[in-house]
């Protein structure tokens, strides 16, 4: 799937110019609120018309103002999951789920009711009314409803933004499953580094209505300058790892990554499972000799490949550890004291306890682990 966007749109004082292409499994549209990312997916879904420009999916033109083409939303076959689930209040959950299916030509229905219900763990909710569901349940039903219309592209507009941390943790695994177990390409709007780092294969960064950067998640997430100020503390390296073994005695899990072994608090995932972790730049210390007598368990050897001034007294240092770049944020004073330069051989030191649920992904909750 290739999503190709080239539009300009004006909404009051807000001017938007966006141009990008993405072919990722899950493309995050990332940026602070008011940066235009929600406007963009409303344009893609056909909820609004652009002033000028062209949007196509796999070569199928959805809108092209120059050629006077505008495919109405009900013919686009693009699934939408809104921040506020928007379930139909007068229908049961089962009828909400069946709604889109009914409008899909039989030959194009690839989504199976049972499979989707299982995937999202909503089998026990089918007879209920939306008003009787919790926020997390509503959002899962909304995802299922969109999926059962057998969309060609699934768009999610900050689906977790109105939920508390516990509910977010409840839904994230289902979205990971969706990404890994279905073939539908997903566009995911978010302003949270934690969500994007965990879910996205590709990221398009928005800033004030324009595309500031686009690329694979690992490359974007370690560029702290691209992150909105309030999320900068969350930025850092994103590594794809595999569970190597569990250390039952100390309650830890050992992950194998390109950069070396990384110990994190125990994860509820079997050996061999893929786990994506995020190493926040502020959690990384830098040493010029292999430290001894230190409590931190993760010590990764590498070479400094980039260095740039950050906010205030800080410098951001990129350390290439066997091909995986780990980012550290340290003070300029420390940098000078250690004499760090590009090419210096150093050790990145990360405390095991600095990994938490938000940056390791704790897997499906127990009830759904079937």
């Amino acid at each position: 799937m290739t999503l190709s966007v080239d539009i300009s749109h004006r909404l009051g004082d807000f001017a938007m110019e966006a141009r990008f292409e993405s072919a990722g499994r899950l493309t995050a549209l990332f940026g602070p609120s008011g940066s235009g990312k929600s406007t963009l997916i409303n344009l893609i879904a056909g909820l609004i018309r652009p002033d000028k420009g062209r949007i196509s999916v796999d070569g199928n033109v959805l809108v092209d103002t120059a050629a006077r083409i505008f495919v109405p939303m009900h013919k686009r076959r693009i699934g939408m999951v809104f921040q506020d689930a928007r379930l139909f209040p007068h229908m049961s959950v089962a009828n909400n789920l069946r709604y889109g299916r009914w409008f899909t030509p039989a030959s194009e229905r690839y989504a199976k009711m049972d499979a989707v219900v299982d995937l999202l763990g909503i089998g026990h909710l089918l007879d209920r009314r939306p008003a009787k569901l919790s926020g997390g349940e509503k959002q899962r039903v909304a995802i299922g409803r969109a999926l059962l219309a057998s969309p060609k592209l699934l768009l999610m507009d900050e689906p977790l933004a109105s939920l508390d941390e516990a509910r977010k943790a409840e839904i994230l695994p289902y979205i990971e499953r969706l990404r890994d177990e279905t073939k539908i390409p997903i566009g995911y709007v978010s302003h949270s580094v934690a969500e994007v780092a965990r879910l996205a294969s590709d990221v398009v960064v928005f800033s004030q209505g324009k595309v500031a950067a686009a690329g694979p998640t690992e490359a974007i997430m370690r560029r702290l300058d691209l992150l909105p100020a309030e999320e900068r503390a969350e930025g850092g390296a994103v590594l794809d790892t595999k569970v190597l073994r569990h250390d039952e005695a100390f309650g830890m899990t050992v992950l194998a990554s390109q950069a070396g072994e990384i110990r994190v608090p125990k994860l509820a995932r079997p050996a061999g499972a893929s786990v994506r972790i995020r190493i926040r730049a502020r959690d990384v210390m830098v040493a010029i000799e292999k430290p001894a007598g230190l409590s931190a368990l993760n010590i990764l050897a590498g070479t400094i490949v980039n260095m740039k001034p950050g906010e205030g007294p800080e410098v951001e240092i990129g350390i290439d550890c066997h091909g995986a770049v780990v980012v550290a944020r340290i003070t300029e004073q420390s940098r000078q004291a250690l004499g760090l330069r590009l090419g210096s051989q150093v050790f990145a030191v990360i405390k095991t306890v600095s990994f938490d649920r938000a940056n390791t992904g704790a897997g499906l909750p127990a009830e759904a682990d079937v």
Binding site: A45, G46, L47, P72, M73, H74, K75, R76, R77, I78, G79, M80, F82, D84, R86, L87, F88, P89, H90, Y99, G100, W102, F103, T104, R129, P130, A131, K138, R145, A146, A149
Partner: protein
């Protein structure tokens, strides 16, 4: 109790006629009522204020004026009346159908108001969600909007029915007061009060119209409650 139910044939006819006229007026006003309410709630067009004023006119004008205007327009020699009689064989003047038309027109503003308010309360974002799921605007209306405004529809219909049961001025001006044809309950009561010794008949019919109105009101309450629990908006 016996004297209450011991109606003369003419009185029975007035009761039956009133119910028939009110029911027809209510059912016939529903489709245009929904359409106009939709236009007023959602439309953005030139002359919307004018349309709104026009719809509300029967509420402000003296009923006699409305009745007279109907007579001018839908009477045998009126432009609409002549056209309908010639091409469709529909005659309003001095027929019960005319009574239904007068009652429908008089109840129309009440019905449109109730429906319009309920349409305005519908969350359009839910309709947009239905659109992304593949429903075209007509299906969205039929499967989302219509069920969501059902309480408003019922309220509007009952208001229209109640207004029709009580309509007097416009009806008597337009289609007169002919027993068995256009003499509805209010006209019959009026007739009784105009003849010596008619007090008993007037009281009987008054009580009957109270009973009919109460039954209609209770029926609407029951209906609304049946629909109500399904409508718990998030």
């Amino acid at each position: 109790m016996n004297w209450l139910l011991d109606l003369t044939p003419d009185e029975w006819n007035a009761v039956r006629l009133s119910i028939k006229v009110a029911t027809v007026a209510m059912i016939a006003s529903l489709p245009p009522g929904i359409l106009i309410a939709l236009l007023l709630a959602r439309g953005r067009f030139w002359g919307k204020t004018l349309l709104n004023g026009l719809v509300h006119l029967p509420l402000i004008l003296p009923p006699v004026v409305t009745g007279y205007l109907l007579l001018l327009t839908f009477g045998r020699r009126g432009p609409a009346g002549a056209f309908l009689a010639e091409h469709f064989g529909i005659v309003f003047s001095f027929r019960w159908t005319g009574a239904a038309l007068a009652c429908g027109v008089m109840g129309f503003p009440l019905m449109v108001r109730a429906i319009r308010l309920s349409i305005e309360a519908v969350d359009r974002r839910i309709e947009a969600a239905a659109g992304t799921l593949g429903a075209n605007p007509l299906w969205v209306f039929a499967t989302i909007t219509l069920p969501l405004i059902l309480p408003g529809l019922i309220a509007g219909a009952i208001l229209s029915f109640a207004k029709a049961m009580g309509e007097f001025g416009a009806t008597i001006t337009f289609v007169s007061n002919i027993p068995n044809e256009t003499q509805t309950l209010p006209s019959a009561i009026y007739t009784f009060t105009q003849v010596p010794g008619g007090d008993e008949g007037a009281l009987r019919l008054t009580l009957i119209s109270i009973v009919i109105s109460m039954v209609a009101l209770i029926a609407s309450e029951v209906l609304a409650r049946r629909v109500g629990p399904r409508m718990d908006i998030e």
